[in-house]
């Protein structure tokens, strides 16, 4: 077997990879490098002078209790979004896996929400749950619940979690369905003959056999909750009320673009970048192993 491609010209292989390299360099390495440089700089309030301050931006960040609150909040959001979205998706996938009439139709319908852009998701849920416009809000208030996510931070947080988890259900559903279909039917039949009732069959056979899928989706969902919820937060709460829905990514945006503190914002970006690298590392390390059970 020939392992190396052979080119007549020495330049051709470089020319062939150049477009890809250019894209990565211009759109990833350059901004990343800019962020790293920026994180060592401090601008005055009017943006007239810039000074090099070494790690001052980072030190200040780690002294700021608001930053730690944001970290905790982000972890909580990620956890809540991942768990709720994974469990609902698993439930739906288990039900859709049964041989029922029209299963192709509702499988397709369940996958559609994934095609909706995050800001649109935010708008959709706002229409339903806005304190004065929302359809559902009216019923909530009629039921005696003081529903006002514009003022109540906990309610705002639950709103974000709801919308973000909803959007991710489709993606998780797709993977769970594929995972369920990969489990040999005869193994479940053997378990049925072995006297395991459906619930027990699920927890002792199906669930363990799905564990590689679950772990993969857990990492993907955490990354999603960390970074891709920006659009949802921006359209629904803009980080408020107070700072109750300000996650790390949103804080980068609000400190840098709204607050004008570019140095701190850049430092936060660099920290986020390191987190992504760690998460991706975990994913490669554990998920890429073919057998995890």
């Amino acid at each position: 077997m020939q392992k190396q491609a052979i080119f007549q010209s020495k330049l051709l292989p470089y020319a062939l990879v150049a477009p890809q390299l250019a894209i990565v360099l211009i759109f990833f390495y350059w901004p990343a490098l800019q962020a790293v440089i920026q994180s060592f700089l401090l601008q005055d309030a009017f943006g007239l002078s810039t000074s090099f301050v070494w790690f001052d931006n980072y030190i200040e960040l780690f002294r700021d209790p608001a930053y730690f609150e944001s970290i905790l909040r982000t972890f909580f959001f990620s956890f809540a979004i991942a768990v709720s979205s994974l469990s609902v998706a698993l439930l739906l996938a288990v039900m859709a896996d049964k041989p029922l009439r029209g299963s192709t139709l509702y499988r397709t319908l369940l996958i559609w929400p994934y095609a909706v852009a995050p800001p649109v998701v935010g708008v959709l849920w706002i229409f339903m749950l806005h304190p004065s416009l929302g359809v559902i809000s009216r019923y909530l208030r009629a039921a005696g619940i003081d529903w006002n996510p514009l003022l109540d931070g906990d309610q705002a947080a639950s709103l974000i979690i709801l919308a973000a988890a909803w959007k991710q259900i489709s993606y998780n559903f797709l993977f769970f369905l594929a995972g369920l279909q990969a489990i040999p039917k005869s193994v479940l039949e053997a378990a049925a003959i072995d006297g395991a009732r459906p619930m027990r069959r699920f927890w002792t056979v199906t669930f363990p056999l799905l564990s590689p899928t679950i772990f993969f989706l857990l990492v993907v969902n955490i990354v999603y909750a960390f970074f891709d919820t920006f659009g949802i937060i921006d359209t629904m709460t803009r980080g408020g009320p107070g700072k109750s829905t300000e996650t790390l990514v949103y804080k980068v945006y609000s400190d840098g673009l709204l607050g004008g503190n570019l140095g701190s914002s850049a430092a936060q970006s660099v920290i986020l970048m390191i987190m992504v690298i760690v998460l991706t590392g975990i994913q490669f390390r554990f998920v890429e192993r073919k057998v995890t059970y």
Binding site: S186, V187, E189, A190, A192, I193, D194, G195, A196, Y293
Partner: protein
């Protein structure tokens, strides 16, 4: 310990396809029943109906005096060995065997005794902590067997359990299964498409074709007196030679029997001898040798009849019409292209009606 009785069992799929068209089988206590037939004949479906994995759309399935049509697989007191073994990949060998016992709430000490006993019998004792993926095909097969025997069920069901093994292992496991079943004396139903497995394992052989039973009986009795041309060509390897009785050459030789009604004549390859004599009341055929296969103990001679109208194809794709297989001792081998004459005695002739559905006594 239980009898298994199928009474007019039917299976019709929602699309209208009739997979099982009314099957009656009675398997006595401790007997080993083999369902054999070509793929798609419904034998696996029938087994899965006994297991409770397929619904029964007509008739009754009776296990140990209890109609089980509406009873869950778990409550039928059966154990099944699947073609792909269906081991739980995330559980150790020990847990694979213990799973069914735990589900039934058995005490751990008792489970341990049973699993260890089964492991000893199946020579798996040193592998109890391994996962299925660390085992060879034969070992997995034994774990699947172990999972069935620890339960001490009324009935064992086997769905082509040996078809994923290589030829040598298949023969070894076949003997093992037979010995184990004899020792445990548990009623068993075994599905296979391999007629050799069927012949060697069965107390009762059920030959199926197209969702129906072609013949039920003792394997040797079926071999000696196949009820239809399908059974005649399916049981026995190489298959029985079947030919039309219409040509004058054969008709004249069969005169004086009720062969006048017969449309098809069958002669097993081993019942021919190469000879110039025509045995009294027997049949002799001139052949041109087309090919020979020498396998050591025996030689198969593939010859073509001189006259061009010939063998009735019972199952398509088995032999080109007009070809006759003769089995002779391994010491002999005629030359290719040689003209030979083969003959069979009257007692070894099988006569069937023209449609092949009825056996006629000569």
């Amino acid at each position: 310990m239980a009898n298994v009785t199928l009474r007019n069992v039917r299976k019709t799929y929602p699309g209208g396809f009739e997979a099982i068209k009314g099957v009656d089988v009675d398997v006595g206590d401790g007997q080993f029943c083999v369902l054999v037939g070509p793929s798609g004949c419904g034998k696996s479906t029938l087994l899965r109906m006994v297991a409770g994995l397929e619904t029964v759309t007509g008739g009754e399935i009776d296990i140990g005096g209890r109609i089980v049509n509406q009873i869950e697989p778990a409550d039928r007191d059966i154990a099944m060995v699947f073609q792909n073994y269906a081991l739980y990949p995330h559980m150790s060998v020990y847990n694979n065997m213990a799973y069914g016992l735990r589900n039934r709430g058995m005490a751990e000490a008792e489970i341990k005794t049973r699993v260890e006993e089964a492991a000893r019998v199946l020579e798996l004792s040193s592998m109890l902590e391994r996962k299925p993926r660390q085992l060879s095909g034969g070992q997995r097969q034994r774990v699947a067997m172990g999972r069935a025997i620890v339960r001490q069920p009324k009935v064992f069901l086997f769905d082509e359990p040996l078809s994923n093994l290589d030829a040598k292992l298949r023969i070894a496991m076949r003997v093992e299964i037979r010995k184990l079943q004899r020792r445990l004396n548990t009623t068993s139903i075994y599905v296979t498409h391999d007629q050799l497995e069927a012949m060697t394992l069965a107390d009762i052989l059920v030959v199926m074709n197209g969702g129906q039973v072609e013949q039920i009986g003792n394997p040797l009795a079926i071999y000696e007196k196949p009820a239809t041309t399908f059974v005649a060509s399916f049981i026995g390897a190489p298959p029985m030679n079947l030919m039309s009785t219409r040509p004058e050459e054969i008709r004249s030789q069969l005169a004086g029997s009720n062969a006048a009604d017969a449309g098809i004549l069958g002669i097993r390859p081993e019942d021919f001898v190469i000879t110039d004599q025509t045995p009294d009341g027997g049949v002799a055929l001139p052949l041109t040798v087309e090919a020979i296969e020498r396998v050591g103990a025996e030689t198969f001679v593939y010859g073509s009849r001189e006259q061009e109208e010939q063998r009735v194809a019972a199952t398509p794709g088995e032999l080109p019409p007009g070809e006759i297989i003769v089995r002779i001792p391994g010491t002999e081998a005629p030359a290719i292209g040689a003209k030979i004459r083969v003959a069979a005695v009257r007692q070894k002739l099988h006569l069937f009606s023209g449609d092949g559905r009825t056996r006629l006594e000569a």
